[in-house]
Amino acid sequence: METRRGKSFYILAAVFIAYVLFLYGPMFAIFVLSFQGPEGGLTFPMNGVSLHWFYKVFEGNGVVNIGAAFKRSLALGTVVMLITVVLSVAAGMAFRKGFKGAVVLFYTAIASLIMPSIITSLGIALEFRLLDDVMINHANDLGLGWFAEGWTTAMGLFTSGLGAHLTWTLPFGLLIMFAIFNRFDGRLEEAARDLGATPWQTFRYVVLPIILPSVVGIGLFGFTLSWDELARSSQAIGSVNTLPLELQGLTTTVTKPDIYALGTITSAVSFLVIFLALFIIQALQARQKRYGSDAGKGLV
């Protein structure tokens, strides 16, 4: 193709830069504003610089317990990440072999991805409500009285909440696995088999090392999507709140920069996870280059 940059390049580059500013500008505005002085308000100009609002967040402003929500979201995000990685890699391997029902699972995942979140959330809420109703009012008829004794609700962070998050993260994990295996050279597996490797050895010593950087990517999606998830959790999380739900609640009540401080802290966790993941991916790719001869060339 042509070697000189045309006029269109500079126009499009300007559009791209404008888009990036549009993406990041507002976020950086609140990062800056979260360092407002104690007298500062919700908008510019800055009224001094301090960590006042960060202290306020950690003290708790009496309305909500941010620290507890923070820990809950962190724990849930970690569990969602691990489950997403394991189930996605396993299912991805199954799709490579092919199995009855593969098409059904694929379209179920797509449907789960694009289903309006409020519908999924409502459905899970109904499911658990009906379950609770059965356990509380009809357990004896079913001979489950011993089990249902003292039953209050099955809804919770690691039951309905976890399920709600997985309906959102698993489709991403599966799609990433598809993208990986579309670019994967199947002859490597055949070669391993011909050399006498068992299926597990083939996976452990051939497939996994090659796909590992992308698997870290699945983990990144799993954690960050759960950490920030709001719409699907809204009805399905039970009596406790995750951090994004607390934040959403604060948008209507808080008129001080402590919401920005909380936003800065939340984003800091996101950025930390993102850069950690990218760093690990980089390191793994560098390692592949060093040891892997031509392995991984089909994977970018």
């Binding site: 976020m27 995942a109 289903m115 934040l247």
Partner: protein
């Protein structure tokens, strides 16, 4: 190794994911459909066949014709916001994808710039919404700037908690869903086709319309499905950016839920689902999703 054993292993590998989807996605959808046809009173649902959820929703709609009743007005507004968002995200998303696919030549730069577009997607949506407040508020940067420039005398009120700010936030949050699939389609276009068009004397615009857009169509359709389904069902963005004042299809469901009218909420969910399915099936006629990954 026999074929039977192989397919058994495949089943064990795919089974857990299928179980999760069955328990937390398919079964809940069944419950939504069943409960939508139940009766209810002020505080609980009653498991008896009744279509009150539906009839309450459309109450008075026929009597009020030709004026639109609340529910139809709400849907009209949701569709309008959806269309605006779709048109803007498509335009921006296509331009950005085009730049990344055809103007950025080194692979490294392509990865770096794509990452730059992706990173905000991994951060919190609520925070990205709240972030507009200091810019668009009555005393925000935009109003101050316009006043300082002498362009306006009183602050503009429609910048925040309005349809404008809702669409702005949608575009801000969801253009990503357009960029990725369109970029993915464009990157597979054989550069030789574009060279051939150039050699045959096509202008840049002709190449764009006759070669790039048709070949990027699958990406455009997939991106459109994402954006349209997200916006149709949204209640968080519309809530936060509309100052809880703007009604939408998703917000109706939320309102009914807060009033503990589960069958009514479920009926509205079924209606929303029906409309979404119609839109998606119309769009998927244009493209085979499975082939595009």
């Amino acid at each position: 190794m026999t074929k039977d054993r192989n397919s058994l292993i495949a089943w064990l590998q795919a089974g857990p994911m299928m179980l999760v989807f069955s328990a937390f996605f398919l079964l809940p959808l069944v419950f939504v459909t069943i409960v939508s046809a139940w009766d209810y009173n002020e505080y609980e649902m009653l498991p008896a066949l009744s279509f009150r959820g539906y009839t309450d929703t459309f109450e008075g709609c026929i009597a009020q014709l030709p004026d639109l009743c609340t529910i139809l007005k709400t849907y009209a507004k949701t569709v309008k916001l959806c269309f605006l968002t779709w048109a803007i995200t498509l335009t921006i998303g296509f331009t950005i994808a085009y730049f990344l696919a055809f103007h950025v030549r080194s692979k490294t730069w392509q990865i770096v710039l794509s990452l730059l577009c992706t990173i905000p997607f991994w951060t919190s949506n609520v925070i990205r919404m709240v972030a507009w407040v200091p810019l668009l508020g009555r005393n925000g940067l935009v109003n101050q700037g316009l006043i300082d420039l002498g362009l306006i005398k009183v602050p503009l009120e429609w910048l925040l908690f309005s349809e404008f700010s809702v669409v702005l936030a949608f575009v801000h949050l969801f253009t990503f869903f357009m960029v990725v699939p369109i970029f993915n389609s464009m990157i597979r276009i054989d550069p030789k086709l574009i060279e051939a068009a150039y050699d045959a004397g096509a202008t840049g615009f002709q190449t764009l319309v006759n070669i790039i857009i048709p070949l990027a169509k699958p990406g455009i359709v997939i991106g459109s499905i994402f954006v349209i389904t997200i916006v149709m069902g949204d209640f968080v963005t519309i809530g936060v950016m509309g100052g809880q004042q703007i009604a939408s299809a998703g917000k109706i469901i939320e309102t009914r839920l807060n009033a503990l009218q589960f069958p009514a909420a479920a009926a509205n969910a079924v209606i929303l689902l029906g409309i979404t399915i119609v839109i998606i099936s119309a769009l998927t006629r244009l493209v085979d999703i499975r082939k595009e990954l």
